[in-house]
């Protein structure tokens, strides 16, 4: 269990490292994606339960006495919903960022962010 959190934090740190030190816009976008994935892993492992079942009620399990047992056996579905939403958002961000990177390359002939700096001061 705790391994999940360690890996999540590692992913976030890796993403941050990419953002701060890489000198390529596409690599920075990748770093952003890695960082968000770390957060997703963190969220998912928070809702996970050892030996839990998927949070979907199977057919024929909706008698009254079983419902309570289902609630205590299933994993927490809310983080999964959150992560799905966040993945969709992340797709939008990556697509828009990459298309902007294409245009930056079109105008500047480079993807190095330290050379894309005509707007300053």
């Amino acid at each position: 269990m705790s391994l999940n959190y360690v890996v999540a934090m590692l992913l976030i740190a890796l993403g941050l490292y990419c953002l701060l030190l890489k000198r390529n816009l596409i690599k920075m976008v990748i770093g952003l994606g890695v960082m968000t994935d770390g957060i997703h892993l963190f969220l998912i492992s928070m809702g996970y339960r050892e030996g839990g079942i998927a949070a979907i009620v199977p057919a024929g399990m909706l008698q009254d006495n079983v419902a309570a047992g289902f609630a205590s056996a299933a994993v927490d579905p809310i983080p999964q919903a959150l992560v799905l939403t966040s993945i969709v958002i992340n797709i939008c961000i990556v697509a828009l960022a990459l298309s902007m990177a294409i245009w930056v390359y079109h105008h500047y002939g480079t993807l190095d962010p330290s050379e894309v700096r005509r707007l300053r001061e």
Binding site: A59, G60, L84, A95, S99, I102
Partner: protein, 146 residues
């Protein structure tokens, strides 16, 4: 443009293509019963198209791409979502996304109230928009307007 890949890859991806689309549709339609749903199914459908483009290149792809149709489909997907929500608002006594259709029997395909409709709307929207994104990046739509 890209040259495309070898014959083996092309043949296999062409054979695989309908099954991938079918699988995507299955995921969308069973979204309220099994893990998955509109978004996942839509991504699978979009991935099947992208696979064809990668294998064949955009020009030689056996499925002809129509930009206009895809744009309209995307708008229709979004409108489906909004319409289901608004119908719930109007018919369901002021509940946005309130259920209008009967709930049905647990475990059958026609159940879950408005959920399958929502899944279909999301599926169309996601598939169309991801295909559009890939197309725009491959063809650099808007490049010449400068």
């Amino acid at each position: 443009m890209m040259a495309g890949m070898t014959t083996i890859v092309r043949t296999i991806s062409r054979l695989l293509f309908p099954f991938m689309v079918l699988f995507g549709v299955y995921i969308i339609l069973h979204g309220h019963l099994t893990p998955g749903g509109g978004f996942q199914g839509g991504v699978i459908i979009a991935a099947s198209f992208v696979m064809l483009w990668l294998a064949y290149s955009l020009e030689q792809s056996p499925i002809e791409f129509k930009l206009f149709r895809t744009e309209v489909l995307e708008a229709i997907g979004g409108l489906t979502l909004a319409t289901v929500g608004l119908v719930g608002l109007v018919m369901g006594m002021g509940k946005f996304f309130g259920h209008v259709l009967p709930l049905g029997i647990l475990g059958s395909v026609f159940s879950g109230g408005d959920l399958p409709l929502l899944n279909i709307g999301v599926g169309i929207e996601v598939a169309a928009s991801i295909i559009l994104v890939f197309y725009a990046m491959l063809r650099k739509v808007g490049w010449d307007e400068k």
